[in-house]
Amino acid sequence: MINSKPTIKSTLTAFLYLSPMLLIVGLFELYPILRSLLMSFWIKYNFYTGAVTKRGFDNFIYIFKDPIFQKSVLNTFIFVLIVVPLTILIALLIALGLSKIKFLQGFFRTIYFLPFVTSTVAISMVWSWIYNGNYGFLNWFLSLFGIHPIQWLSSPKYALISLAIMAIWQGLGFNIMLFLVAINNVDPRYYKVAKLDGASSFQTFLHITVPLISPMTLLISINAIISSFKVFDSIFALFGGRPGPASSVNTIVFYLYQKFYQQNQYGVAAASGVILFFIILIITLFQMWFSKKHVYYTSGINNK
């Protein structure tokens, strides 16, 4: 520290250093958080002058009664329920495999992580080509196993599944890396003791690895849940700016986009943003509560 006590002078100096960041974050983070809470109650207004003539809960009532919103919430939850467990399971298996090898480990890590840094819009173009019902690679590949062509993107039955497969593919690398960090942090002495006790490798995995990496598993699930709740770019790119056939991939954020950008219902859009925020808030609070109660912490292993 360059001073030992807070003084008027040190406070002024500090704020001088903070000011560029505070200006931007204040104007585009703090202020809009408050403003969107207020805006969600605006019913009659002029956005450009900021004049509001009527306030109330109408936007929220409208949203909760709107069958499109109900469908988009349902779709979002189904999407999360498909993507998150599968991502965790596959990422854990691959991370476990990677932790057991030395040769080519870096090579595999590099490849698995590549989709994560790739533009979602651009790779969605590629997936829409792979998913193509008539000429797509996937249908040809499945036909080798006698599976009839599937209209991946144009059938309401498969659209959400197609979206989920791509999302899992893209997010896998990131979660593998997080699991690897946790697995490498497990004290090797535990494994030695388990071996002395004659535990099989599956028993070791179940009774040592799984509990010791549980803080990371929780963190990964929360990360994955939150990012799945916000899915947008891939929907837009895979389905050409529309929420899929028969709104089958309409999600909360896509609903917000439509209300805001296509229908100019700013109040309704702000209200759906507020709902999204509260969903995420509840998940985060649940994470804190759950990790206090059920997650196995040990000193030195990610006990944050």
């Binding site: 200006l23 809009p32 969107s36 495999g97 979602t120 651009a122 000429y135 690679f137 890396m177 859009a269």
Partner: protein, 282 residues
Amino acid sequence: MKKNQSSSKIQQKIKVWFLYLFLIIGAFTMLFPFFWMISTSLKNQYEAIKIPPIIWPKQLQFSNWAEAWNAAPFIRYFINSVSVAFITTTAQIITAILAAFAFSKMIFYGKNFIFLILLGTMMVPFEMVLVPNFVTLSNLGMIDTYWALIVPWMANFFAVYTMRQAFAGIPDQLYYAAKVDGASDWQYLWKVLVPNSRSSITAIALIQVIASWNSFMWPLIVTNSTNLRTLPVGLQAFKSDAGVQYPELMAASTFVILPVAILYFVFNKYIVDGFTDTGIKG
């Protein structure tokens, strides 16, 4: 006993082979869409839609790349993407360095309070502030200008947080030594703290460049003019144009993916570790 040992050795070997087989299949799945993108972009129209598919075309049609590049102002999109990524990243690093200096090395009134509030904003989804930010920018007359693409991203609390961690790890003895040498606080920041935090700065820079390059929703909403489009928005518009063929669309997708892929292969370790740290702390 001896026989037993050698059979368990063979078992061990088989296990390792299966493990590698499993990992190779996984790697293949990860790489396939990229391979298919490049392969399709080099096929002619007939080869592209042939069933069973042609894995790699005999004659490479590089003309698809030229045609796609000229079919839309991709050069303009490219320049826009590079400029926005460069300016926002530079600004983010400067604002983060200044703010992190105050948070890591100074004691002042309200420090913990401000820090906690800013930490709380990290939890707020960007989608929630989308509508009010649009209104703010339109009040400032910035919608459909470069300002809209740049100004909101000139500071980011996550960058501040990472820089603060880096600065906090530098012992204060260096400060006293700098003071003895007659350095001012400003010089101490730029000549001691910053050079000693190069790896954190690199990680923040790479993450922001990639995030800016790939960002889609924000530029989609705040720009209308063709000449303000960034690459992802331009690519999306290119696809909606009637009559685009898959080989050209795949060539155009390659334009968007290739620069970041190259960056990724060069700075692989920084990028993976940077994102992983973000995941753990953020």
